[in-house]
């Protein structure tokens, strides 16, 4: 098993790479267009804003190779790596990858709880639909989140979480899985999730 972690130059990819490496597989950093071909599975950790992420992917000529890889290889998007799959985001005028229909919106404080934004810390993840990546993980476990924008509506949702409003904390479609939480920072349960991704057969 050879995993690739996409590095477009703006996110701290090292923690993801380290967590994956601790589980055994070969992990390579994918930072040029030609490196997408040599890996079996792809992990895309994202930080920062969608606009700057898309711009950087285009500058480094990785936008199209990434899109191609997403259509053909098992893919795990983390945090911004979930958001970028959508058509658009309130955060930026730059379009996302458009693999999933819908848009990303700012977290809404529906009950006027004076919520602190970003949503940062450990929160419950409610399993709505069974999925292999959650095998061996109980319902309503805590995962670590850091974000200000969410996918509020997606038919592809696997889990939901509540912060100000109910949002999609992970989603899946065919070979694509994406999480709003950071499995690489979610302790033992996060590692179990990553292990499930490494073992995921499509």
């Amino acid at each position: 098993m050879h995993l690739g972690v996409v590095d477009y130059g703006a996110s701290n990819i090292h923690s993801v790479a380290r967590a994956l490496e601790s589980l055994g597989p070969k992990v390579s950093i994918v930072d040029t267009p030609d490196k997408f071909k040599s890996v079996d599975k792809l992990v895309f950790p994202g930080q920062g804003s969608m606009g700057s992420c898309v711009k950087k992917l285009k500058e480094t000529e990785m936008f199209n190779p990434l899109l191609e890889a997403i259509k053909s290889k098992p893919f795990l998007g983390i945090c911004l790596g979930l958001q970028i799959l959508f058509n658009s985001s309130e955060e930026s005028t730059e379009k996302g990858l458009g693999v999933i229909n819908g848009s990303i919106t700012k977290i809404k404080d529906l009950n006027k709880e004076n919520l602190k934004i970003p949503h940062m810390g450990w929160n419950n993840v409610k399993i709505e639909k069974k999925h292999e990546l959650f095998s061996g993980i109980e319902d309503k476990q805590f995962f670590y989140f850091v974000h200000s924008f969410v996918a509020a509506n997606a038919e592809t949702g696997i889990t939901t979480t509540h912060y100000g409003e109910k949002f999609i904390s992970s989603l899946a479609t065919e070979n694509i899985f994406a999480t709003q939480f950071h499995p690489e920072k979610s302790g033992e349960i996060g590692l179990k999730f990553l292990e499930n991704f490494i073992n995921w057969k499509i």
């Binding site: 090292h14 601790s22 970003p118 949503h119 450990w122 929160n123 509540h162 979610s186």
Partner: protein, 252 residues
């Protein structure tokens, strides 16, 4: 359901070794920061904080090695503080595996550092640490590990820090630190009422009720402590159970 109150054990490290001598029973080398961090992770710590005491230029390489060692073995959020003076320091620590950096004295000497680091790496990884001492109705900010008094008001400085782009405030009450007489809940309440970013309370934990009160009365979002966890006086799990009994969300 809401966010869990975070319990953050702090490792005081000097020259690559944990100081304040911990006495965990079943770890091979209690002075090894990574061993201690792993133990805290297993006990349910929500984050790990490492404070490099007297971090100096000569010791920077040791710090980096320690950070790398912890980051490759512990997979929960990891904050590193102590002697951070420049963007280069921030960059090096984040690249070595820190998820957040905690900046104290340098932020006062050079407030631009908070702003620049926040712009470059995101507010979520910039923690503004403040040492404060009560003076009548207000709190003064101190620098250099509490040695030097400044003219800054702690609440105002925290607000400024938030405006500059800090993602969290780690406030240590110098009046309470080391006394085990409870947190300065007035300080934390004042802070929480004035800020929209999370507040980490530090200094004064001695009994379970102190930790609960810092959340209940002080409205702290997270609690940081060193010695009570080092000496196993109170376990992380017990703190969480006590908070849960009071109706607070915790990760158990």
């Amino acid at each position: 359901m809401s966010l869990a109150v975070r319990i953050i054990p702090c490792l005081d490290v000097r020259g690559g070794r944990v100081v304040k001598g911990i006495n965990f029973k079943d770890i091979v080398d209690a002075g090894d920061p990574a061993e201690a961090a792993k133990r805290y992770d297993a006990e349910g710590a929500d984050e790990i904080c490492m404070l490099d005491i007297d971090a100096s230029f000569e010791e920077r390489s040791t710090t980096i090695e320690t950070v790398k060692s912890i980051a490759s073995q512990v997979f929960i959020p990891f904050t590193v503080g102590g002697g951070i003076k420049s963007l280069k320091d921030v960059d090096m620590l984040l690249k070595s595996g820190a998820d957040k950096v905690s900046i104290n004295t340098s932020a006062i000497l050079n407030p631009d550092l908070i702003e620049e680091a926040s712009k470059e790496y995101g507010a979520q990884c910039i923690v503004l640490a403040i040492d404060a001492k009560q003076d009548g109705e207000t709190w003064n900010v101190y620098t250099h590990g509490g040695k030097n008094k400044t003219e800054l008001d702690a609440i105002e400085w925290a607000k400024k820090g938030q405006d500059l782009g800090a993602g969290e405030i780690l406030m240590t009450s110098m009046d309470k630190d080391g006394t085990k007489s409870g947190f300065d809940n007035n300080l934390y309440m004042e802070l929480s009422n004035n800020l929209s970013i999370p507040v980490i309370a530090s200094g004064g934990a001695g009994e379970l009720s102190h930790l609960v009160d810092a959340v209940k009365l002080g409205k702290a979002d997270a609690l940081l402590a060193a010695s009570i966890f080092h000496y196993e006086e109170i376990s992380i799990k017990k703190v969480k159970q006590a908070l849960q009994t009071e109706g607070f969300e915790v990760r158990l």
